[in-house]
Symmetry: C2
Subunit: 352 residues, 2 copies
């Protein structure tokens, strides 16, 4: 495998067709004057030599790569970010852009390497879904290219796509309350120890909706709450926070009749604990999840709050491109992301 063998360039084609290579360039790009006869000659030469334009050279010259860099906070086990990525790719392709995806797996140093790689390769814009460390976002911004932060912005200085998690979470709570539940537990991601309202955006909304709903219903806000790691980055097992919290609650005679879990993965752990302790879902205890990732694969299928993952990705890509080519692409509506409750079979009337 001779790695230094170069592919056929515009020059090879030109020699083959007996024209200057500027002529080949004109044919390839389809602009500028070229006579029918020479165009034909060149096209034949291109076919014969199997010429493919070199994007690297083109990008070096144009200072423009038509590539978007997409940093994913993690890809396993929570598939949410992967769904965002799929949306971003689809939208970008439609607009003539390519997306390079870099999985950070929750590691800020890895995220730094990702940003550096993207900057070295002169991507046209960078999307963070979601950023891990604020300084990495700063680094991207310093390159003076469009930056989009999806779902959990860490810095206020760039475009950000946030989802109203409150409405969906509140709807979930109202759903449980309407079913007559009074002892409703919450298990979710703990807030950052340092005070960063931007970073805590999502958790604050989910947990806040729980607190507000309970308070408004005249129910205790702090009695059944477990905060911790809602998404375990490296394991693939339901026996995390949700499992442990539910096991603990189940030891009480007046155990909760409903659990609102801050993620589907936590809900899966709650399922397991309930199964082990002989509490049936939904007859004995109702469960609501969040994210709609695992939900439809669980038995019974999980009532959960759905987020517009794919749309977020599409919007992020469109926003980045709109910043790059405002004359060609309109800025999408970035204020419209909501969450909504999907009622399946894990919730029912409170047993009393």
């Amino acid at each position: 495998m001779n790695i230094t063998a170069r592919a056929t360039s515009i020059k090879t084609v030109a020699r083959h067709a007996g024209v200057a290579y500027a002529t080949v360039a004109r044919v390839v790009q389809g602009k500028g004057y070229v006579s029918q006869a020479t165009r034909l000659k060149v096209e034949q030469a291109i076919a014969a030599t199997g010429y493919q334009p070199n994007a690297i050279a083109r990008s070096l010259k144009a200072n423009r790569s038509f590539v978007l860099g997409h940093l994913l906070q993690s890809t396993v086990p929570n598939p949410f970010f992967v769904q965002v990525a799929a949306g971003a790719e689809a939208q970008a392709h439609e607009m003539g852009y390519t997306v390079l995806t870099y999985n950070v797996q929750g590691d800020a140093e890895e995220e730094k390497r990702g940003v550096e790689t993207f900057l070295a390769w002169k991507v046209d814009a960078i999307v963070f879904t979601t950023p891990v460390r604020a300084s990495n976002v700063s680094m991207a911004l310093a390159a003076n290219i469009p930056v989009v932060q999806v779902e959990r912005p860490l810095l206020p200085d760039s475009d950000a796509l946030t989802v109203n998690n409150y409405t969906g979470a509140r709807a979930a709570m109202e759903h449980l309350l309407a079913l007559g539940h009074k002892r409703i537990a919450y298990v979710g991601q703990s807030l950052h120890t340092f005070h960063n309202t931007l970073a805590d955006y999502v958790e604050t909304q989910r947990y806040g909706a729980y607190q507000d709903a309970m308070r408004d219903a005249g129910l205790p806000v702090d009695k059944w709450v477990a905060l911790g790691a809602a998404y375990t980055l490296h394991d693939t097992d339901a026996k995390g926070l949700g499992y442990r919290a539910a096991k603990r609650w189940n030891r009480h005679a007046d155990a909760p009749t409903a659990v609102f879990a801050g993620s589907d993965m936590l809900a899966a752990g709650v399922y397991l604990a309930m199964y082990e302790d002989g509490r049936r879902i939904p007859q004995d205890v109702s469960v609501v999840g969040f994210d709609d990732t695992l939900a439809a694969y669980l038995t019974p299928q999980l009532t959960t709050v759905s987020l517009p993952a794919r749309e977020l990705g599409k919007c992020a890509a469109q926003l980045a491109v709109a910043r790059l080519q405002p004359e060609r692409f309109a800025c999408p509506d970035i204020a419209s992301f909501g969450s909504h409750l999907v009622i399946r079979n894990s919730t029912t009337q409170s047993p009393g």
Copy 2:
């Protein structure tokens, strides 16, 4: 946002330091003779200007990008390929390479665009996990760069990493047989209608293990079999083939006491059907899955066959790099991938 603003180059640094730009290049690369004094001057200039080497220019010159292109057959809903991708990235980074990941989502045309993109960007090697269409693999091979096909090779002409699915599948069957099950059903991916032994590698092994085990045990091989789509690319719902097959089987008085599902996603569907029909897992019916993706999130936790997803990715990356730099990196052992049974809580003695 002025997208044509160019970043500081080696020239800016040279001017800043009052040296020729070749000198800066020597400092940046750390090779060639540079006096202590000028090195210091240059380093200060680099810091002052915030210079970052331009990978595009470097790659154009060197005809070498230190980038691997990774085509993923799909990323949602089945997370298997994503796990492979994470392994490939980790290994590549260790060897000084970057991985660009391109999600194909099962679409052969999209895969074609992916290969074209990678070739245009002159990636050093291409990994298919797994290839969708043979001609796309051919296209990659035609560029005369290392090509690795992971798990389901479509062409025999390149490096391929395959997993012995038979041993794990056979172990699953022996497990069920040892538990006294006689009416064991199989639900899995249908074979290709066109005869391609390479493409059918995986399915043939899983289904073949079922058939062999049943035959060797003197049990009927064709009685409880459902073949179809084991991974639904676009939906996120358990109500697919596994669900439908189990619902159908459950209508018989002598319904199977065990189900061997060719994927965890199918097993999730089987769970749902059993739940709806009041058949308890594992007391009334045992279930075994394949892939170990959803398994630990299901209730009860699913006995399944685990594949070395991460290791496959790592090996694919190492293999590609070994082909590129045989003097620096050894070729990994590519013949050692096995599958193994992970016994959890979805299997028990046959009820009779």
